[in-house]
């Protein structure tokens, strides 16, 4: 995997005044992020309920794609089955809330924990599988999940084909906002925390080990990186992220059913990952935007040809931004700064 990874290339040494430039760029970046955050905070007051709901879903899909990105973009392990972890997280939340009366905010870490355990366990046998074979194994996971959810032995918990209706989370009494807005902010907070965690992770020693395994497993092993351990852990963390997204998804949609977590969901995550940019954190949110909105756009152009139009848009995006939205932004940034320095 030779995906350019994030940030570091942006600050590649280019001159002597590196320190100063870097500081200047960092401040620019901070301003950009502060602006993005400010917009994100204001949005729910600008749009009506269902758009707020859509934006919440974009963040949730972005988070799910981030989970997949940690595994595929940073660690080089393929998964075509992350919809299964998303579904698992959603069901953990639904079952805990509706069966055991657990408060909704506790179910989110619980879903993350369960998915981490399942992901790490799945990662163990997956160690023996490389590339396409691993992709196939995870594919099996995605195919199996909807059937398992319908399995009558588990029906007392999963509600079978009928699924589970999830209660609307209550807005804290002191806040003058409605449920959609509250869910948006709750999701925003969780997603911000998770993205910050991921950013720290990939910058850390552990992150470097994870990426070293992707770039050159043998060299990484020679450097003393414990490959099986890191691979398994990455699988677990990746499942955790996607599982938390699933939990948030269950809260936002307020309903879970086997049909919600079909194979197509996993494919959508993969599409979002590649179009957003492998190995990029902000790119995941672009992936979320694409996954949610582009099918709607395609349908509004022509219902009969919706699938074809979706494909055309996807091809266009790939041609214009071959390294994903993140790579495109990076190129644009580099171009602008080169032009300024002339």
């Amino acid at each position: 995997m030779t995906t350019p990874h994030q940030d570091t290339t942006l600050f590649a040494p280019a001159g002597q005044a590196l320190g100063a430039r870097r500081a200047a760029l960092l401040t620019t970046r901070h301003w950009v992020w502060a602006g993005v955050l400010a917009v994100a905070v204001v949005l729910p007051f600008v749009f009506q309920g269902f758009v707020v709901f859509q934006l919440t879903e974009v963040m949730i899909y972005g988070l799910a794609i981030l989970g997949l990105n940690l595994l595929t973009g940073f660690n080089g392990q393929f998964s075509v089955g992350h919809g299964a972890f998303y579904g698992l997280g959603a069901y953990v939340t639904a079952i805990l809330m509706q069966r055991y009366g657990v408060a909704y905010y506790w179910t989110v870490p619980a879903a993350g924990g369960v998915c981490f355990a399942v992901g790490a366990l799945f990662g163990l046998p997956a160690l023996r599988l490389q590339g396409l074979y691993l992709a196939l194994a995870t594919f099996a996971l995605a195919v199996a999940l909807p059937q398992l959810l319908k399995f009558h032995g588990l029906e007392d918990w999963t509600g079978g084909v009928q699924g589970i209706v999830v209660d609307q989370p209550d807005v804290p009494g002191f806040l003058p906002i409605d449920t959609d807005q509250w869910l948006y902010y709750f999701t925003l907070a969780v997603v911000l925390a998770m993205f910050a965690g991921a950013a720290n992770l990939v910058k850390s020693r552990t992150g470097r080990a994870i990426m070293a395994i992707r770039d050159h497993p043998i060299a990484a092993a020679a450097m003393g990186v414990n490959e099986p351990l890191y691979k398994t852990l990455t699988f677990g963390v990746s499942a955790l992220y996607t599982g938390v997204a699933g939990a948030l998804g269950a809260l936002a949609v307020q309903f879970v059913a086997p049909d919600s977590f079909s194979l197509f969901l996993s494919i959508n995550f993969l599409v979002g990952l590649i179009l957003g940019g492998m190995g990029s954190l902000p790119g995941c949110l672009f992936g979320g935007l694409f996954v949610l909105y582009v099918p709607n756009i395609a349908e509004s152009v022509s219902r009969g040809l919706a699938g074809a139009i979706y494909g055309v848009i996807m091809l266009l995006v790939i041609f214009v931004m071959p390294s994903g939205a993140a790579g495109f932004t990076r190129l644009a940034f580099a171009y602008v700064s080169r032009w300024r320095n002339r």
């Binding site: 729910p44 007051f45 600008v46 749009f47 009506q48 309920g49 269902f50 758009v51 709901f53 859509q54 879903e57 059937q147 319908k150 399995f151 009558h152 029906e155 079978g160 084909v161 009928q162 699924g163 209706v165 003058p176 906002i177 409605d178 959609d180 807005q181 998804g249 949609v253 307020q254 309903f255 879970v256 059913a257 086997p258 049909d259 919600s260 079909s262 197509f264 969901l265 949610l292 099918p295 349908e299 219902r303 919706a306 699938g307």
Partner: protein, 411 residues
């Protein structure tokens, strides 16, 4: 801020953000009362359906609905108002149904939705619609739970529910074979259990003594051979098969193979000649009994029937690409016609409250493609528009209807 953001935008300025025309016009005139989505010239009706995804073969239902509304509009609409039928693709994915339904209600501002397709998809928006008090009418699914006027007063079903069908079979057995030894083969999920409950309820006190064996299968099973053998060995003389087409066909073939001759009752959704009976062997399927509420478009006996002839001319003109052997085109047209009747009854009082009131006030509505003697009836305590069906027997080539129209009342 609460009032400033959501409510106000919803009721006063729905279009500001998204460029849809200003619609929430509240007429000053006393005689006319308009809810969201209604003007002097238009009524907005919402719908979601699986145009893509695993169930896309069910998309003729919303397509034929749209065709029927186009015909009504071409004929001048209802009291001068055209129906603006907005139907979105949900790919049979419940989260997408939620998203699209919220778009219909909050952005497009439809007066109500009609004929939304699928059990899990409708379940996903069930609470939302009832909380928002938006009528979710004539849903295209056979589950029994839509008939719940007390718990969910804004949702209404359409088809004969699985439980009602089970009761109809019970009524038939009680009348024609009161000393039957019944064996039941059912699919072990909500669908199968829904049916079984109807059958047991319908048999009433006699259920325990009449039903000798209840055997179930999983959709993951390879065959139902062992269950059939077991049911025969238990000495049953009536076999009720509650299955999807694949297992229905297996059951029919196995029954013939072991030379068992029970009275074989097959549930409606597995009764298709093409999908179930042909694979099982038409000769093996001879004598199968099932029920139906609609005219079978492939049945030659309707060739000269006025209703059928009208339906064919409607299809030719407004949905020429549609498959006239696909019963879903019958369902879609029937749902749309029921919707139109409800809107006619509303007159100029086109509010969500009145829509619900009139939907629960359909009396003896006969439709071109309903069997003679079957009519749509609703009331404030009955949210199941179609409750009746007629038995029919397969003669080796086609189904022959017989006997009276039966009602799925609790026995």
């Amino acid at each position: 801020m609460k009032n400033l953001t959501r409510r106000t935008i919803l009721t006063a300025a729905p279009a500001l953000a998204f460029g849809s025309p200003l619609l929430a016009t509240r007429s000053a005139r006393a005689a006319k009362q308009y809810g969201p989505g209604v003007t002097d010239t238009e009524i907005k009706v919402g719908n979601t359906g699986p145009y893509s995804g695993p169930l896309s073969n069910a998309s003729p239902i919303p397509i034929s609905m749209a065709a029927y509304f186009k015909m009504i509009n071409d004929e001048g609409g209802i009291n001068g108002r055209k129906i603006n039928f907005i139907s979105y693709d949900d790919g049979y994915s419940p989260p997408k149904t939620v998203e699209m339904t919220r778009k219909l209600v909050e952005s497009d501002q439809v007066l109500f939705t009609s004929g939304q397709l699928g059990t899990p998809t409708n379940s996903a928006i069930w609470h939302y619609m009832n909380e928002k008090k938006v009528p979710q009418l004539f849903v295209s699914t056979g589950a029994t739970k839509w008939d719940d006027p007390k718990g969910h007063p804004w949702t209404m079903g359409f088809f004969v529910s699985y439980q009602a069908e089970g009761r109809i079979y019970a009524a038939y057995i009680l009348q024609n074979k009161p000393d039957a030894k019944i064996g039941v083969l059912y699919q072990n999920d909500d669908f199968g259990k829904d049916y079984l409950k109807g059958l047991v309820d319908g048999l009433g006190d006699k259920a325990a003594s009449m039903i000798k064996v209840k055997d179930s299968y999983e959709t993951t099973d390879a065959t139902v051979d062992s269950q059939i053998v077991e049911l025969k060995a238990a000495g049953c003389d009536v076999l009720v098969t509650i299955a999807i087409p694949k297992f229905g066909a297996q059951a029919i073939r196995k029954v013939a193979e072991i030379a068992w001759k029970p009275l074989h009752i097959l549930n409606g959704i597995a009764s298709s000649v093409g999908v179930t009976l042909k694979p099982a062997g038409l000769e093996n399927a001879k004598g199968i009994i099932t029920d139906n509420s609609f005219k079978d478009a492939t049945d030659p006996q309707w060739q000269n029937d006025a209703g059928y002839k009208w339906w064919v001319s409607f299809m030719d003109k407004y949905y020429p690409a549609g498959d006239k052997t696909d019963s879903q085109n019958v369902y879609g047209q029937s749902i749309a016609a029921t919707t139109v009747q409800m809107l006619k009854q509303c007159g100029d009082e086109l509010t969500r409250e009145n829509v619900m009131k009139q939907a629960a006030n359909l009396q003896d509505l006969e439709l071109p493609m309903l069997l003679p003697g079957i009519a749509i009836n609703t009331s404030p305590t009955n949210f199941a528009p179609i409750r009746q069906a007629q038995m029919r027997r397969f003669d080796g080539e086609r189904y022959v209807p017989f006997g009276p129209v039966l009602t799925g009342a609790i026995g």
